[in-house]
């Protein structure tokens, strides 16, 4: 026990934690939020909007990365690399 930590502080925490263990119905939660001055529908809509934005960002990053990886895998065979290098050299020679 930390110094100065006494029974009523612990009891208060215990009471709050005990009440969090009990399963509540959706109706109960909606009522509880209303009692706290929070409109369930609004808050869920706001939360889902934020979550969808995060998911979209993550998915667009995945879409960008995956074809690049597939493309590299297909093209970067030893033969293709040598061909690309030869072509590159040829271009440089043409330019010079």
């Amino acid at each position: 026990m930390a110094e100065g930590k006494t029974n009523n502080a612990e009891l208060l925490i215990r009471l709050f934690e005990e009440t969090d263990q009990v399963k509540l119905s959706e109706k109960d939660i909606d009522k509880e939020l209303k009692d706290l001055g929070i409109e369930s529908e609004e808050i869920v809509a706001e939360g889902l909007g934020k979550i969808n934005k995060i998911i979209e960002t993550n998915e667009s990053q995945s879409r960008y990365n995956m074809p690049m990886a597939a493309s590299n895998k297909e093209e970067l065979s030893q033969e293709d690399v040598l061909r690309l290098l030869r072509e590159d050299d040829g271009t440089k020679e043409t330019k010079s």
Partner: protein, 192 residues
């Protein structure tokens, strides 16, 4: 690994999680405020809840579905951790009373003043449950360090009766939250 995590996160019951998490964040902020007699400036329960959800998506907090469900992880690890971290930041702490400093504190370090705050809140709770014998048994049992199973065994109480009493206690605590407990306990609610 990352794709698997995103897939699992996408398949959650988000409307239910959002509501329960905001309710929990509200309780957690209030509890911290009651004990410390301080508040976190500019942070509403929904800010903490959304920050927690974002932290799990971004991998700042690493949820492992093999170790447990998402909602308890968000509540007991992420939200609890975020509140504790914010409480260490003196820039976001504001005192309720005039005698308090804005110094950050360790989350579980309770001073004598914290104990005084808790005592006054417990008195308020006891006052609010005095007409409910089952709730009085429950609070007394918990204050004596008993667990749910102990209280049910000793008092030959059905677990449904216990759980319903806990629901009533939860409602009482929310009612206390709605009142300004600092006004109740200190009589100085206007002094903010």
């Amino acid at each position: 690994m990352r794709d698997q995590l995103l897939k699992e996160l996408k398949n959650q019951d988000w409307p239910g999680i959002i509501k329960e998490l905001i309710s929990y964040a509200s309780m957690r902020l209030k509890l911290w405020g009651l004990l410390k007699n301080k508040r976190l400036k500019g942070y509403e329960p929904k800010d903490i809840a959304f920050k927690a959800i974002e932290a799990v998506f971004n991998g700042e907090w690493k949820w492992d579905s093999d170790k447990g469900e998402l909602l308890p992880y968000l509540k007991y690890h992420v939200v609890k951790g975020l509140v504790a971290n914010l409480a260490k930041n003196s820039e976001v702490i504001s005192s309720i009373g005039s005698t308090q400093s804005n110094q950050p504190e360790k989350a579980d370090d309770f001073s004598h003043e914290d104990e005084l705050n808790a005592t006054m809140v417990i008195q308020e709770i006891n006052e609010s449950i005095k007409d409910d014998p089952v709730l009085m048994i429950l609070v007394e049992g918990l204050s004596n360090g008993l667990k749910r199973s102990d209280i049910c065994n000793i008092h030959k109480m059905d677990t449904d009766i216990y759980d319903n009493a806990v629901r009533r206690l939860r409602t009482k605590l929310i009612q206390l939250e709605k009142k300004d407990l600092f006004t109740i306990t200190y009589g100085r609610g206007k002094n903010k």
